[in-house]
Amino acid sequence: MNEEEKPRIGIFICHCGVNIGAVVNVPEVVEYAKTLPNVVHAEGNLYTCSSEGLSKIKEAIKKYQLTRVVVASCTPRTHEPLFRSACEEAGLNKYLFHMANIREHCSWVHPKEPEKATEKAKEMVKMAAAKAALLEPQEEPEIDVEPTALVLGGGISGMTAAVSLANQKFKVHLVEKENELGGKLRELYKLYPNDCYTSDVLEEFKQAVRSNPNITVHTSSTLKQSEGFIGNFKVTIDHKGKEEPFDVGTIIVATGADVLKPNGTYCYGQSKNVVTQLELENIFKEKTIGKPKNVIMIQCVGAREEKEGGRNYCSRICCAVAVKNALQIKELSPETEVFILYRDMQTYGREFEEQYEKARQNCVQFLRYDAENPPEVIQCSDGKFMVKVHDILLNATLELDADLVVLSTPLIQREEAKELSKLLKVPLGADGFFFEAHVKLRPVDFATEGIFICGTAHSPKTIAESIAQAYAAASRAGIPMALKRVRTEAITAFVNEELCTGCGTCVKLCPYNAIQKDEYGIARVNDVLCKGCGVCAASCPEKAINMRHFSDKQVLAEATAALGGA
């Protein structure tokens, strides 16, 4: 920045309706802001993010020749892009914009101390103005996007995503670890609601994959290595020990889920007549169900409980699966009595509820037990079972004979997911499933650009829900590939070559492998890989690394302002 060219700062303070305005005295903060160094304009807005508020920013930039803009409002996480665009539209580089979060960091946490909150808001505005004065324009370099996608997992989700992307005219590598496509569905017998054979449904999907010239299928293959970034991933597939490298622009994770095996509970593992719902599907397939007198299904085995080995979440599909399979048994063997022992029937939505009603009409017995008082399965000497359950609807303890006990266990993350999570640098949540960028509004994006998630690797869900999500992932992955170019992060690290001694500390610490030493032994940052985390800058013993947009000077100015300095 030219020394003579003093920054001209404009400050906009948002009421956010009553979110800020009911606690912080916004007009007082506005008046205070006007007294700060370099500030040439300050105003309050009811909603700075409204189209009216944004127009006001743009007008003020022109009217007061602002060279820096500060908005004191809510979180930059949701609103920074919006305010930055407004600045850009008025001809100001968007990195000359800075935000103070006086809602989450102030009014929301101090609702009962309005006076102190007002003082704090003033200080936050002062800090923001101090940093803003030192901001510099930054550029976001554009990079090319390889219009090829890698889809990991050849189940129903992966196949759907692959076909959609291929129809969008992108090349797709579909990678499946087993020797054939189909995933978990290969183990299922029939599907609700059309009572169709799973094998028929799968054949239709496999045919769509096989007949599409844009898709290359890699069975018996796994992802070995992945490096690079959106638009330019270099991946290596391991196919029976043979390594094949590919360049892809986007990656979709559709690796599916496993089913919990409840070893040691309810006599599971002790008899072939205690099975999971998935194993029951196999009994249907092999047509060995016979004519059992009583079949008892137990819901929430290892789900919705805090017990060791179990999961505390609800696996979403098990109630509907139990209802479907109960009706299947009734169809194959009408004389068989089927009991479903449940805590809450999770037959949400439209079709599941209809199916639940149909099961009741078909004399499937529903017995409701309480989590604190779960059923007991006792193996009798004749190989049969006695199931003891306290039905809270009858308020009575029942003892039921059972020829077959079916346990509804939750879908769980696959063991391999941990490795994949590390390989792709994408997170897993507390429940073990892959964790998306935002649970509400970005259900299939990862925070890492260019990588997407769908199907049961994300959370338990039905086939239709997996397919919808797979299409969603195909839409999201299709965006950068259709544009063929993306803009990358501007906030990156850079090395002062004069100061760098080539010690290599940063190279070792960088979590994104973005730093390498060049032929002269000087550290070099790859701008596209760098996410601007600042680990290198913080650890460089020579202070040779600085961060764009978070320079020591800028950060210190903010800190000095906070501590009462100018």
Partner: protein
Amino acid sequence: MSNSVLVVGGGIAGIQASLDLANRGTKVYLVEKTPSIGGRMAQLDKTFPTLDCSICILAPKMIECYRHPNIDLLTYSEVEEVKGEAGRFTVKLLKKPRYVDSTKCTGCGTCMEKCPVKVPSEFDMGLGNRKAIYMPFKQAVPLIATIDTEHCLYFTKGVCRVCEKVCPSKAVNFEQKPEEITAEVSSLILATGFDVFNPSAMREYGYGRFKNVVQSMEFERIISASGPTGGHLVRPSDGKEPKSLVFVQCVGSRSQHGEFPFCSSVCCVYATKESILTKEHAPETDVSIMYIDMRAVGKGFQEFVDRAKEEHGIKYIKAHPGGIAEDPVTRSLQIYYEDIPTGNMKKLDADMVVLCPALIPKEDNRRIAETTGLELDDYGFFKSRNSLTAPVDTNVPGIYVCGYCQGPKDIPESVAQASGAAARAAETIMCTTKGVKS
């Protein structure tokens, strides 16, 4: 062959589908019946299970739609007629007159201040008022005033025209005419959302007769900072803070006799959310949820319910509520219910009751189905081509469906389906323009 897509409905599903397509370079017509996009999500206070402020995460997307060079935002407009086939649909739209020139209105709100006519606000579920010239809510997109001709004194009695006089931009235009617009598009995406079942039909619950029996969308507005009470949780009869609050699930839904047999899928968890918010407003409030089955089936939802029980002390009662009575003096309520575990009839007192009604398909779906040739199910949801394998496709190739109008679902599922519908629309463009069959 067209490269454009027309999206019907400006709620979160329609917004997401539009943005996905526009961001890949596709031209989008986003058609919304009411004066602003935002839909139901704009009315919610917070969203489960993260308790994100709903409008705060939605508003940036609404504005992105408004500013997007590839999106033609057609608010206060309706689909009149659809002809053609995948790759080449011709859609006739009716843009209703706002009687305000959208190129001149700055959204300053002076007209709304001066307008003498108060009308119950649709956005605030009738609990607060708007004017006869109005913007439905503060973050409305576009921020342009609209005159409601049913209530405007000029349109009803031929007098007033105050708005015209006070408008600093001279934007009011009483001569504005309806405008017919024709759009040539490759495909359509329907995202018409839901309506709330009016629980006054179930007389036993007293809704409409007892002031302190409200329904959940009203409750969202009552606890919302931008709502009619400024975010103060008070009961309608006397403006006092309720000491006890009871949520009643499955009002009109999961009913085998009349009403709606399906489950709305979101009520158990939003009631949990509203309970937690109640406790955050007033920790001493006694909050109970009467339910049949606790359906917390989404990602992180069961954990959310567990937290509501353990950390906030929300009481979950397995119950079949049979009726609600009101004390005529205090206006407080008694809920008579069958306690499911014991089978006994019991009574619970509450200062306020929140009914969680069935969320039902829009009546307007029938009209849209007629002109497009789409099939509806028994309840009026748009039918998927195959509810198992083709959830976002319909019986008409090139017309896709997403969000609640296809069947009960929550926000993340609606967003995923919307992106999914966008992918199908993108496929249609690629496959029809390049002469390849999908």
